[in-house]
Symmetry: C2
Subunit: 219 residues, 2 copies
């Protein structure tokens, strides 16, 4: 098991603690707000929560943060605190620091000071949610970074009753059906002769451009 | 092309407008804050932005919202406004309404009044981000709903130089390698004799329990 420090205990930070603890890792949570830390302590018995100012490097040194495997700075609105906390963690030698940005420029500043991964939660969720409401069949849209993505979707009408060989998706539209989940049964890896039926759920991979042009997003 | 209405023009709402417009749909954006709407109008020339109170059903009627294909209520902090706006949209007959919740209870209330999809952006991103920082090889974690998920990851050391047949992942750990992306080349669907090499990126599917136990999240 590894050790992680989470700075900022809002909804994002606490969701991270939940998942890291469930995976069996040790977690140190830090937040400026003493009342918040008091309130949360009961909900996270397997994590160590501390009220402290993460922009103060002597505080982080006392907490031995340099020995941790990774960190996330998920302070939202207080941009300055997020930037200073990220700088502190990288200067102390934490090998991997993920940081939350509230805009493109904020993200570029965090990158310049050494953040290893930038997330813009609202923007990323906004793009995913827009694609799921744009199409009556799409259940989930996953941005794999660069120009690839995956779509989880019900079978569009035009593809019903056809086999993968008949559809010839990779030749015709550069898409690949990665998995087929018949209603109520576990998913399987399709072969050429697999026929798509109404009610099946499919996972389709490809470039974002090809997915956006496909029957999945343009029914 | 279809028509969508987005209520609440924060980071989430504006990211949704961006994506829906890029897919060629018509978008109406509504926000209470007149100054915000003025500021944003220049950035979203292909969307129609209006300053209005979405909790007032006569306003929504005047905007002909009932004829739209779908809507998203992505007001953040003002929980009451989000609940009332969602109720209005469903009573006006909008077929699909996605709504943003700030807690589990808030989500259940939105579901009871008819929201078709609930999102908790911070919580969902928190779980995804935690899994990517927990493992040195995982690049992305995707919750497919129910108990299935996908992981995009570099090849863990134990799997390097081995073929899929040798690894026998589906028999041994209930996992399936859905795609293999060699460095700098397009992804392909692997066959039994495909060998995994250092630097390859793989997409692995399976149940959340099996993924959490695997070498991907426990290197
Ligand atoms: N210097 C700091 N050191 C430690 N924690 C800080 C510091 N500055 C701010 N925080 C904490 O960061 C947390 C999250 O920030 P913010 O209030 O912007 O987001 P939030 O809306 O609560 O988060 P979320 O969107 O994840 O729910 C707050 O609980 C705040 O106390
Ligand atoms: N009754 C209402 N009708 C229309 N818009 C509203 C109403 N009440 C609040 N809003 C708008 O919802 C928007 C988003 O709400 P909020 O400020 O909670 O989130 P945010 O932090 O700006 O959003 P994000 O997290 O997406 O950046 C605000 O711009 C606000 O003006």
């Amino acid at each position: 098991s590894r050790q992680f420090v989470i700075i900022g205990l809002g909804r994002l930070g606490t969701a991270m603690i939940d998942t890291l603890v469930s995976l069996g890792h040790d977690v140190l949570g830090i937040d400026l707000d003493e009342d918040l830390v008091q309130d949360l302590a009961g909900n996270y018995p397997n994590a160590h929560l501390v009220a402290a100012d993460a922009t103060d490097d002597s505080v982080l040194r006392d907490l031995n943060v340099a020995n941790f495997d990774g960190a996330a700075v998920v302070i939202g609105e207080a941009m300055e605190a997020g930037i200073l906390a990220t700088a502190n963690l990288k200067e102390l030698g934490v090998p991997f620091v993920a940081a939350r940005a509230t805009s493109g420029l904020h993200g570029r500043v965090l990158e310049k000071i050494g953040a290893d991964r930038i997330i813009e939660p609202e923007k990323e969720m906004g793009a995913q949610l827009a694609r799921t409401i744009a199409s009556p069949v799409v259940l989930d849209y996953v941005d794999l970074g660069e120009d690839e993505a995956l779509i989880e979707s019900e079978v569009p009408e035009e593809w019903m009753g056809k086999s993968l060989t008949e559809l010839a998706l990779s030749r015709k539209s550069g898409l690949t059906i990665l998995a087929v989940k018949p209603k109520g049964r576990a998913g399987t890896i399709p072969k050429g002769d697999t026929v798509l039926n109404e009610g099946d759920v499919i996972v389709v991979g490809g470039s974002k451009k090809n997915l956006d042009k496909s029957k999945l997003l343009n029914p």
